[in-house]
Symmetry: C2
Amino acid sequence: MTQSKVTIRDVAARAGVSTTTVSHVLNDVPGKRILDSTRVRVRQVATELRYTPNRLAQGLRLQRSHTIGFLSDEIATTPFAGNMVRGAQDAAGEFDSLLLLLNSGRDEGLESKEIGALLDRQVDGIVYASMYHRVLTPPAALEASRSVLLDVRSHVPLLPSVVPDEVGGAVTAVTELLSVGHRRIGFINNVDDIPATHGRLAGYRQALTAQQLPLEPQLVIAAGHDAPSGYRAATALLARSDRPTAIFCFNDQVAMGAYQAAQQLELDIPKDLSIVGFDDLTLISEGLRPGLTTVALPHYEMGRWAIHTLMALIDAIGSVPAEQVALPCPLVRRASVSSPPRL
Amino acid sequence: MTQSKVTIRDVAARAGVSTTTVSHVLNDVPGKRILDSTRVRVRQVATELRYTPNRLAQGLRLQRSHTIGFLSDEIATTPFAGNMVRGAQDAAGEFDSLLLLLNSGRDEGLESKEIGALLDRQVDGIVYASMYHRVLTPPAALEASRSVLLDVRSHVPLLPSVVPDEVGGAVTAVTELLSVGHRRIGFINNVDDIPATHGRLAGYRQALTAQQLPLEPQLVIAAGHDAPSGYRAATALLARSDRPTAIFCFNDQVAMGAYQAAQQLELDIPKDLSIVGFDDLTLISEGLRPGLTTVALPHYEMGRWAIHTLMALIDAIGSVPAEQVALPCPLVRRASVSSPPRL
DNA sequence: ACCACCCGCTTAAACGATTGGGCGCACCGC
DNA sequence: GCGGTGCGCCCAATCGTTTAAGCGGGTGGT
C-alpha cells in the first residue's frame, strides 16, 4: 500500500533508454545488439527500483497468463484435496505459474460457467480434479481449453488423465498379507459403483490366484466405506467359525471399524488378526493402536503429473495423444500385520 | 481450443457501433445516452457471440483483477485447509472473484517472494492463512497489499484477523459435561505453546469456576496433540483411584487415544466415562464408537469472514481499524456424553 | 565520393478492455 | 437564416507489456 508499482517505463527513464531496450535486456531476447554497458545499467536500475513486470499486462500481450485453473468437484473434508493441490502447486511453481482455484458443486450448468470464469482470466490450461477416483464424461466446456483430468478417467479418452492404480494397490496389500503366511484373508469392500470398489476387488482376486488360492466368497463382504460399515462387516466376518486370520479393508475408515470389532471380540491386532487398509489417512492410520499398515494413494504425485502433462500440452506444437495413466499406490507398513496365529 | 476468444471489437463490429458504446451498455454506465434500440441490439449481439470480457485486459485497465491471493503456510494434511479454502472461495464468488492459491513453507525469504508473485498478478488483496491457530508477526511484505489474517493473530494488531474462540469453545465443551452432572472432569491438554493450548485450558478453568468447582491440578495433564499422547494421558488419568467421570480432550485425536485407553480398561463410553473432543475431525468423530461429541472449529466461517473483511478493506475509502475477531466454536453432540455413573 | 552495411538503439503497433472529451446532426426559438 | 442546445454516438488515450520494423550515423569497400 505504500508506493504504487514501478513499471518498465520507470526503469527506462531512469536508465536513459527506451522501454524496448529494457524489455530486451530483462528478457534476454536473443539476437538483439545492445552494449554490455547498457545491459548492466538497465539491470542495475531494475533491481534498484525493484522492478517486476506486471503479469496482467504481460499476459495480455503474450496470451499466456502463467496461471492454471484448478477446478474440482468439491473441496471435500478429506485430507486428499490438500495433497493433490499441493502436488499441483509445487509443479506449477516449477513453471512459474500459479493455481486459480475453483470448485463447482457437481452442477453441470454451473460447471461450465465456472470454466468460463477461468477462461476469462486467460488461464493457460485447466486441471479438472475429483476428490475421489471416478470415471465420468468431463464437461464439454473443457474443450475450449487445454485440460487434463486428475483422479478422473473419462468415458472416452480425449483428455489425458491420471488416477491411482487401484488393482495394483490391492495386490500389494493382499500380497503383503500372503507373504507373512496368511491364507484366509477377508475383504471388506465398498458398495458404491466406483473404480475403487471394482479395482480393489480385482486386485484381491488377482493376488489370491497368483498364489493358487481359491477365492472364498464368504470371505468378501460388500459393506460400505465408513467405520460403522467396517465394524458391522468385520463382526460378521469374525463371528464365523472359519474366520479369516487377516482382513483387507476397502479403506482406512473401514479398517477403523474392523479394529473396533476386533476389540469387541477381544482379538488382538496383529497377534490374532492382521489388518491392512487403504488410502493412508494418517489421522486414522497413525492414530489407531497399533498403527495401521495401509496402502497410500499417490495424490501428491498425481497432482504433479497433472500439471506436468498440462504444461507439455501447452507447449506442444500439434496435438499429442491423450495419455491415460495410473500411478502406483505404495504400501506403508505400520504394526497391524504379523504372521497368522497357531501357524 | 476451437475458436479464439471473441472481443469487444467483434461485438462492436457486428452491432454496428463503437467499442465505446458496447462497453457503455454492457456495463450499464450511468448517465450515458444511448437509444434503447441500440442497447438491445448490442446486448443481443453480445449474447449471440457469447462475448465475455477478457479479465486480464479489464484488470489492467481497472487496476482490479478480481482475484485474491490466498497464501497459507502449508496446505496441511488436515482436513482443515479444505474448509477454510471453501469458505473463502464461496465468499469470493459473491464478489465475482477467484482465489489464487499459494503456499509457502514457512520460509520467511520465500514468503516475501511469493507475496511478490501474487502482487505481480495484481491481486486485489491477500489473505494470509495458517492451518492452525497461531500468533505471529506477519511478513512485512504483506503491507504492500491489502491483507487479512486467517487463523492467525498478529503480535501487533495492524491487520484484521479472524481466529476461533478457543476459550469459548472449551467453556462450551466443559459446560456440556457439567450440565449432565459431571463434577470430576479431566483435561488432557496439548503441550505446544500455541493459543489452542492456553485458550482451551483457560476455558476449562472458566467453566469450572463458573460452577464454583475447584480446579484439581491432578486432573489436568499436558500430554500432546496426537492419539498416542491421548492414550498415555488417559490411561494415567483413569488409573487413579479418584479417576474422573469425564475427560475433555485437547482435540479429537487425543480423544481417539482416550477411547483406546478406556477400552483397554474396559470402561464403557459413555456409561462409565464421558468424553468430549475438539476440532470435529469427522473422520475421527464420526468414526469412533460411540460417536464423539466435540467442538467444531469454524473454519468455513472464518474463511468467509476473511474474504468479506478483505473486500470491505478494498472498497474502503480511508483506512479502517483492523478488527480482531474470534468466531464461536459450536458444540456438535454425538454419543460420547451421558450422566456420570452411580450418581 | 558514394553506396552498403552494421550497430545500437527507438518508434509505434499491438494485446483487450474503459472513459473523458468531443463531434455531427437535428431541432428550436427568434 | 442563424446561434444554441441536446442527443447519440465515437475518437483516442490509457493500463503495462512485447516486438516487428525502422532510423541515424559511423565504417568499409570500391
